[in-house]
């Protein structure tokens, strides 16, 4: 213990002086939610959506380029696919830390890690979708005199899109979930209230509320993307 100099009264640790919600720490405390929705949960939710949206957009772009390359040049598929698999086996909490020396305790660190996790699902689904285009369709395209580029945009891409969109759904839902670990590096997203709740003597209401929001956000994104997929690929039942 560090001796208190100056002697201006006893030093009282601050952790016992929370609201009645925090002192009782019951399963659910509506008062706390009402009080802290505006300053804790709502900003965390918005930050979480930002983290995920950027990672998915970046991952989708990178995976598209890689998938087109891996589809055209089969030799590339093995190393690229293997690397994406390997990235997926790195524990998220380790990947975040490995990047810190390069990019610091910043959002960029988080985005790089989250983006690498999306690659595994997106790349695999894109290549599978493109490979799954029936030979008949390609032959018909050739018979119609379409060029290579036209075949890609008018035949292969539309036929691969259900698989691509299925990958997008899976990647989005998982990223919403993994992004909670991001709070280990930067105090952003729904993971932050969870870590704070864990630190503050396991404050249940905060943990359950933030965790519940993360799960609901993931499920909402899944439903929204399912609708989107149905709207843009009306010919498939998915």
């Amino acid at each position: 213990m560090i001796p208190v100099l100056g002697g201006s009264g006893p030093v009282i640790p601050s952790f016992g002086s929370g609201s009645s919600c925090e002192q009782n720490n019951g399963w659910w405390c509506t008062d706390w939610l009402r009080e802290h929705w505006g300053d804790t949960l709502q900003p965390a939710l918005v930050q979480h959506i930002e983290l995920v949206a950027i990672a998915i957009a970046a991952g989708f772009l990178i995976a598209s380029v890689l998938a087109i390359a891996g589809f055209r040049y089969r030799l590339l598929d093995v190393p690229v696919g293997g690397f994406a698999d390997f990235l997926y086996t790195i524990p998220s909490i380790a990947l975040f830390q490995l990047l810190v020396p390069f990019t610091g305790l910043t959002v960029l660190t988080v985005e790089i890690a989250l983006t690498s996790y999306t690659l595994f699902v997106l790349y695999r689904n894109m290549v599978a979708g493109l490979r799954g285009v029936p030979e008949d369709a390609l032959e018909a395209a050739r018979g119609m005199g379409l060029t290579r580029v036209q075949t890609f945009f008018r035949v292969e891409l539309p036929l691969a899109s259900p698989a691509v969109l299925a990958g997008l759904r899976i990647a989005t839902v998982s990223t919403v979930s993994i992004a909670t670990v991001a709070a280990f590096v930067v105090p952003k997203g729904l993971g932050e209230p969870i870590f704070i709740g864990l630190d503050q003597n396991l404050f249940k209401t905060e943990i359950l509320a933030a965790g519940g929001l993360a799960i609901l956000l993931a499920l909402a994104a899944d439903v929204a993307l399912a609708w989107f997929a149905r709207a843009v690929t009306p010919w498939s039942r998915a």
């Binding site: 390997f86 997926y88 086996t89 790195i90 524990p91 998220s92 909490i93 380790a94 990947l95 975040f96 830390q97 490995l98 810190v100 020396p101 390069f102 610091g104 305790l105 899976i170 839902v173 998982s174 919403v176 979930s177 993994i178 909670t180 670990v181 709070a183 280990f184 590096v185 993971g191 969870i194 870590f195 709740g197 864990l198 630190d199 396991l202 249940k204 943990i207 359950l208 933030a210 965790g211 993360a214 799960i215 993931a218 499920l219 899944d222």
Partner: protein
């Protein structure tokens, strides 16, 4: 929670391997703990999800359950599960095991369901016509036909559970996660060393499952 940032140089990876060499017994025992935790969870998940998935697929029932479970499984953050487990079960082995079991179930259940559900209907009908019981149809026809998909599900689940087991260190779960989340004590080389071991365990498990799959499919083809 905060992370210290060590200086990262070209030598850090060399240092990571040196760290493994210098602390071989520590790494071994931590890897052992991680394996114990992950494989216990995986075993329980397998025992729960595989029979259920096979049975539902055989009956062609519960499509909604199979799809819902797989989405829900992806949506559940491991941290939330562990934090929730802490409030219910307290610190310890079972809290983390329970969280990992919940994470491990969805890929196994969903893949088992679709593997059996999608087995060639003609083959199944032919087997019924030959007088096989429902149990025999499931075990001798649908299971071998769906094996690639079933093993793929187990593999996804295994990699996911092993990688997530490190986060259990936050809740006193021990294992390699103790090193990975404690850069202050072990340095960046330790963090890299720890995650290299986790990746190695995950990749070796995936490889082993691939070999099992190959061996099993060869023996079933030989018997047929």
């Amino acid at each position: 929670m905060s992370v210290l940032a060590d200086q990262f140089t070209a030598h850090t990876f060399v240092d990571a391997f040196r760290f493994i060499g210098d602390n071989a017994s520590l790494m071994l025992s931590k890897t052992g703990q991680t394996c114990e935790l992950a494989f216990a969870a995986l075993g329980i998940a397998l025992a729960l999800a595989l029979p259920l998935g096979l049975w539902l697929g055989h009956r062609h029932r519960g499509l909604f359950l199979a799809l819902g479970v797989s989405t829900l499984g992806r949506a559940l953050p491991i941290i939330v599960l562990i934090a929730f487990g802490l409030t219910v079960l307290g610190v310890g082995f079972w809290n983390n095991t329970a969280a990992l079991v919940v994470l491990g179930i969805p890929p196994i259940l969903t893949n088992a369901y679709f593997a059996v559900d999608g087995a060639d209907r003609d083959a199944v009908e032919a087997a019924r016509g030959m007088g096989l019981t429902e149990r025999q149809v499931l075990l001798r026809i649908e299971l071998p036909l769906g094996l690639p998909l079933i093993v793929a599900g187990v593999r996804i689940s295994a990699v996911f559970v092993i990688a997530s087991a490190t986060i259990a260190a936050i809740a006193g779960g021990g294992g390699l996660g103790d090193i990975i989340v404690n850069q202050a004590s072990y340095g960046l080389a330790g963090v890299i060393a720890g995650s290299l071991c986790v990746s190695a365990v995950a990749l070796l498990t995936a490889l082993a499952l691939g070999l099992v799959h190959r061996a099993v499919s060869r023996s079933t083809t030989a018997r047929a």
